[in-house]
Symmetry: C3
Subunit: 277 residues, 3 copies
């Protein structure tokens, strides 16, 4: 019998070391705004990013990747085809993939596609409170619908329902982050109020989650990635006076993040009993 | 009878405060190069950016946006469809939209589409001297044709003609910026010679103009946005020795720009009598 | 009889001055991740970038450009058409163009297209060791096939074969850079181990090579550009503690790079006899 997952700073640090040792190739099918910061965050933390989206080559590329992130930020029909095909390929090859349902709830086109992808076997879904609530509601999972002022606390029940309906681990990020598999819940703190003022840092987090999913099961990967990224973000925020230099400082922090930085700037707390054996 | 528009540092500051209080959702259909800095500039100054371009969802998204910017920088046929549809929707819903005719004059494809969009009811057209002269000429508005060495002064007559022909307020940016509705002209100074050496800062300015257009009529919005952005750019330039860190410093300046910074780094001057009642 | 090409720091400096004096318009058909840093590097070093890719306007735009770079990073069918047409137009007008075969070897789609473009008359092909070895092998030029751990030394023979097969000068970048026309070889040092940890700096180098190709023959252009960029990168690396601020520092260094910086941070060495007359 495997030991139960451990949700601690030590476990997150171990996952970081394992990820850096593996230097996973992370395929990003992501939005135009998020590409540069996603690639830079992955490189800085120790993974190897690739931006490959054309349906003509995703089958081949997923096969050589260690993890995949699909982010629907700047969605268009030609990209949808590549996303669908990449997700299918990842599932068939048993590769972990992360769904970032950017802007779910804003338009029917976007919400419908987010629902479709949530049913395509993602390992992890990461979004903010509004996106997770909207996706849970639209997917018929029992969520409460869109609320643009939703906190991650308010979205927790929706996230649990979405996790049960999709089979994915759900990560809801905000002032406090929550990760849930539908029954167990882990809360992570870190980050900075400046982070939402620099574009696509949430998208780059989803890419980082994918890197960790290459070396850990989804629940542990998401918790570790959120703690590592949150710690780096909080450390970076101490070195800036506004959002302008935050992406650069975040990458510098991801480049050096270690046990001390994680312990100093992040917390991990099991909110509800973990019953994964 | 409404009071005449006031083109002063105080009015620009008031517009900034109103914009921040409203936190307008600004939809960007912009070029790939401009996306990240446009989003970051909007977030820093206090607006809420979204990058949404697919024709499948622009009708829905324009409906929830407070302003729209259409920038033709990296133009292609699939994007044209979304731009046409978004502009039409914005006009029908009475939402302000800004046209940035990037590279107008460089190719027939680009010039023709810029002309088409200038006739689709933009609230404001913002470009450099060459773009405005080219667009005015191509639109049959009486401009003087392309001149790659054109200063914004030289383009002023073309800009006035373009404003009369299109019904839009025209903002011509350069060493001195001019805003005109075809009869009145306001001149704004600010910025730095380093700004043209960092890509897409003009595009991010157009996005900022859209944010102000969500809370002020087009003429006043353009003047206020140019003063605020120009002041932030000039302040940012004092903190760098080259163009490399300018985008980050610009965002930090936009994050804190206030009456003092605007008064210190920008000027607003009515050049020709304002006869808007 | 023209004098033989000179591969020295002085010649590189002269090329830099000539390029800045000409301020060449460099058309970039490049990947989404590379666009911003490519534009910023070109602006900083003294060239004028434009990002134009639509097949509807590339014929017109190549005609007004001084050099072209085609980078296959985020490849898709609609972009392929513009790339094919732009390359054909550049060749017919005698304009220099640079091929950056990003990710060649990773998928059949990508490798096939890289081979096709290598046969479309590029002036210069710039890639890392793996890309050059893969392209040489796939093009039947006698390379050794893909090796993801390949050093630029190991790829030198493949690069020479590729140069002979394609007629292009081949630049292989890594810890030591090599430039070859198939018989002669010049080695350049510079740069920093941090550079591969910031995304798309190799792509921005290819754009810089194109700028130099506007004012010098391909072999001399590639050597000069690699020395200038490598020196700026090495100088920039002395000012950072991680990869985060490297793009900004690189641009600041490119903005001021001169004979002293090149001499201090780069070396140029003729490895095999230069027999170009």
């Amino acid at each position: 019998m495997s030991s139960p997952p451990s949700f601690t700073i030590e476990a997150a640090t171990d996952a970081l070391h394992a990820m850096r040792a593996a230097r996973p190739l992370v395929q990003n099918i992501t939005n135009y705004v998020a590409m540069t910061i996603s690639a830079n965050a992955l490189l800085a933390v120790g993974a190897s990013p690739a931006m490959v989206h054309a349906s003509e080559e995703v089958d081949d590329f997923v096969a050589i990747s260690n993890a995949l992130v699909i982010n629907i930020g700047t969605l268009s029909p030609t990209w949808i085809e590549g996303m669908q095909r990449a997700a299918k390929r990842a599932v068939s090859l048993g590769k972990p993939w992360v769904l970032d349902p950017v802007g779910c709830g804003a338009t029917k086109f976007r919400t419908d596609f987010a629902v479709e992808m949530s049913r395509a076997g993602p390992s992890i879904i990461r979004g903010n409170a509004s996106e997770i609530m909207s996706l849970a509601g639209a997917a018929g999972a029992g969520g409460k619908g869109v609320d643009s002022t939703a906190s991650s606390d308010a979205a927790l029940e929706a996230g649990k329902a979405l996790a049960r309906a999709s089979g994915a681990v759900v990560a809801i990020t905000g002032e406090t982050d929550y990760v849930t598999d539908g029954t167990s819940v882990v809360a992570i703190t870190g980050g900075s109020p400046l982070m939402p003022l620099s574009t696509a840092l949430g998208c780059a987090l989803s890419a980082t989650v994918a890197a960790f999913a290459a070396v850990r099961p989804p629940f542990e990967a998401a918790v570790a990635a959120l703690a590592v990224y949150g710690a780096a973000g909080a450390a970076a925020a101490t070195r800036v006076t506004g959002p302008g230099h935050l992406p650069a400082e975040l990458c510098d922090a991801l480049y050096v993040v270690d046990a001390d930085m994680i312990a100093r700037y992040a917390t991990i707390r099991v909110v509800e009993e973990v019953n994964v054996g």
